[in-house]
Amino acid sequence: MSTSRPNTFRALLKEFYEAPYRGAIARAKRDEDDLFMLFVYAELLGIPNPATYYTLELQPILLERFHEWHTRMGLEHSPLDHFRCC
């Protein structure tokens, strides 16, 4: 109980710091992630990618995010012929 007030104050201060820009930071991170998704699936979309050797093994891991990603990029349907998420 005697340590809860400083912890509460610290938590409130942290929230005071983070809350106003939480959205902007999350959107900036999402933009970086979207670019990374493009790198990973570039070859499948017909865009040459010299780093394919390294990104190939990430494709099955990131497949869960693919539908959300292509929707956000403005592609109504999946651009991949062999993978129809929608």
Partner: protein, 584 residues
């Protein structure tokens, strides 16, 4: 005969300069009034008009995504709503307005905070929360008309343009006036970046960077006194004022493009801490030193260059009485983080009360911080070249040094740094917002080049520079005379406030609730804004300030259309509300 003599003495004592009123009386009266407004008037508005419902599921819950829509503790939310809206305007506006005497400024701040700003900010949050946390701009399109929404976006852009320009001019003037402020102000940028890196990248706890950063911030004030920095008298034909304006916009452009965690976020945070420390210091100093008000209650010797008190008082003091800018903040981020609907009263109305308190202390600083009426009158002898931040700093520093035992130079530098940091963070955010608007225009009108961050930022900064330098009267050094923008800024701000109150009023009419508590302030501020804009036309034309004249004309057109849209929307809603009764 005795009564006549008494009245004569009272008139002489109060109204003609030799004043014996104590600033503590003003401070306590003002604070009691605005807190009473929160205690009673906001409760009435919350229960009878907005009818807040503790069981209503706010968008922070119904649309929660832990990014934009996150329920937030009401004290934290109040903290960053208050620090977001409180900038340099509640200092500059009252600082200028005391030229007409302290009494009109005091009355407008108190009445405005209770019946105008409180209702406006509170209502903007409520209206947004009840409509999926949509912005006031979006609601204007839904509730009034799409034309009104277009006007809203135009007015917002002009407002951002003006706030950036006028704050750049104010900061530049403050640096020229107080060279000891340069090192502390620019050190704050460095301190902010270090805090940003420590908290975001290194992931240290919040307390130590906060404490150490704040201590460093105040410690470098002493360094600023030892190493004051003055720019050269002339570089490429530019005087120091113009050089500072260019440097400031260069900084704002760079700052707006950096990742927010690196500069904007920690700078806002430091700003918030500065605000609370500054308010505490100033009110504490007033209570301890009990200075005497030397400014006249009503100035009977207003400089010839000053505009008439009516209607200019009501646009000179915007923030601190009512400000449309607050509606953008209320419906932009605050409404998305409101945990329970009743929290809107504390966050919105009490946020206005906080800003009223800041405006009040600014009035006290410029009314009681001079040694004598003669000294006050000398400071307020010229409206056109008046520096409100300098007046606030001089008055506030005198009070702070008498009350807290600080050296005058240290106190003056501290207050200058505080005012500049407030203005600076508004500029950072303002340029960033302008860039977003320009990029959005690029998307809407299919102009790809506008989507480029560098192009959009360059356009935003260029427009602000054009205004800041365009306000220079013919023959004057470049970069001076920028405070002529202030009434226009206030006019635009009040017009935006009128639009927000119109949206709230229309929603209330739709719900069948009394709208006079929002409609009356709306009609008042819009009328004052229009009247001020019309007076400005003559002044800008006579002074050869054609850039300001062009913007003024645009604002007048917007104001007229707003009033026409307002009448149309309200008549429409009233008819719709009456239709079932007619059918019976």
């Amino acid at each position: 005969m005795r009564q006549q003599a008494f009245r004569g003495i009272l008139r002489l004592e109060i109204f003609e300069g030799e004043h014996t009123m104590n600033a503590v009386v003003l401070a306590i009266t003002g604070l009691v009034a605005i807190f009473a407004g929160y205690r009673f008037y906001s409760k009435f508005i919350a229960e009878q008009i907005y009818q807040l419902d503790p069981d209503f599921e706010t968008p922070s819950h119904s649309m929660r995504d832990d990014i934009d829509y996150v329920p937030t503790n009401k004290f934290v939310l109040w903290g960053h709503h208050f620090t977001a809206v409180a900038g340099a305007a509640p200092i500059i506006g009252p600082g200028i307005a005391v030229i007409w005497g302290w009494l009109p400024a005091f009355i407008w701040v108190i009445v405005g905070t209770i019946f105008f700003a409180g209702v406006h900010d509170f209502g903007a949050i409520w209206a947004s929360v009840r409509n999926k946390a949509q912005s006031v701009g979006y609601l204007t399109g839904e509730v009034v008309s799409h034309r009104a929404r277009t006007l809203f976006m135009i007015v917002v852009f002009f407002l951002l343009l003006m706030v950036n320009a006028v704050f750049a001019v104010s900061i530049a003037a403050a640096h020229v006036e107080t060279p000891s402020s340069v090192i502390p102000v620019w050190s704050a940028v460095f301190v902010a970046m270090v805090i940003g890196v420590l908290l975001y990248k290194v992931r240290v706890g919040i307390m130590w960077p906060t404490i150490i950063g704040t201590v460093i911030l105040y410690a470098v004030i002493g360094l600023g006194e030892v190493f004051p920095i003055e720019l050269p008298a002339m570089i490429f034909g530019l005087p120091p004022q113009a050089q500072w304006i260019l440097l400031l916009f260069f900084y704002a452009a760079v700052a707006s493009m950096l990742p927010v965690w690196l500069l904007l976020q920690p700078r806002d945070y430091i700003n918030g801490i500065q605000l609370f420390v500054g308010l505490g210091l100033l009110y504490g100093a007033v209570l301890i030193s009990s200075p005497t008000i030397v400014a006249p209650a009503i100035n009977s010797n207003v400089p010839a260059s000053a505009p008439p008190i009516f209607p200019l008082l009501f646009v000179t003091i915007a923030c601190g009485a009512i400000s449309g800018f607050h509606g953008l903040v209320s419906s932009g981020t605050t409404s998305k983080q409101l945990d329970k609907e009743p929290d809107a009263r504390q966050v919105g109305y009490l946020g206005s009360v906080g800003e009223g308190a800041l405006a009040l202390i600014a009035i006290i600083a410029v009314s009681a911080g001079f040694a004598s009426f003669g000294e006050w009158e000398a400071a307020y002898s010229d409206y056109d070249n008046f520096n409100a931040i300098a007046a606030f700093v001089q008055g506030g520093a005198t009070i702070a040094s008498n009350g807290l035992g600080l050296s005058f130079t240290f106190a003056a530098t501290l207050l200058t740094v505080m005012a500049i940091l407030f203005a600076g963070t508004t500029m950072d955010a303002g340029v960033r917002l302008q860039r977003y608007i320009i990029q959005e225009w690029g998307t809407i009108y299919d102009i790809p080049i506008l989507n480029n961050s560098y192009v959009a930022t360059g356009l935003a900064v260029s427009a602000c520079l054009l205004l800041a330098f365009g306000a220079t009267p013919p023959g004057a050094p470049l970069g001076t005379g920028g405070m002529a923008i202030w009434p226009l800024f206030g006019t635009t701000n009040q017009l935006l406030a009128g639009l927000t109150l119109l949206v709230i009023s229309t929603i209330l009419v739709k719900l069948g609730r009394p709208s006079r508590y929002t409609l009356t302030p709306m009609i008042f501020v819009t009328t004052m804004a229009l009247a001020s804009a019309l007076i400005g036309l003559r002044n800008y034309f006579n002074n050869g300030q054609y850039v300001l004249l062009a913007i003024d004309i645009a604002i007048i057109i917007c104001a007229i259309f707003v009033m026409l849209e307002a009448s149309s929307a309200l008549m429409r809603e009233r008819r719709a509300a009456q239709t079932p009764a007619i059918g019976k």
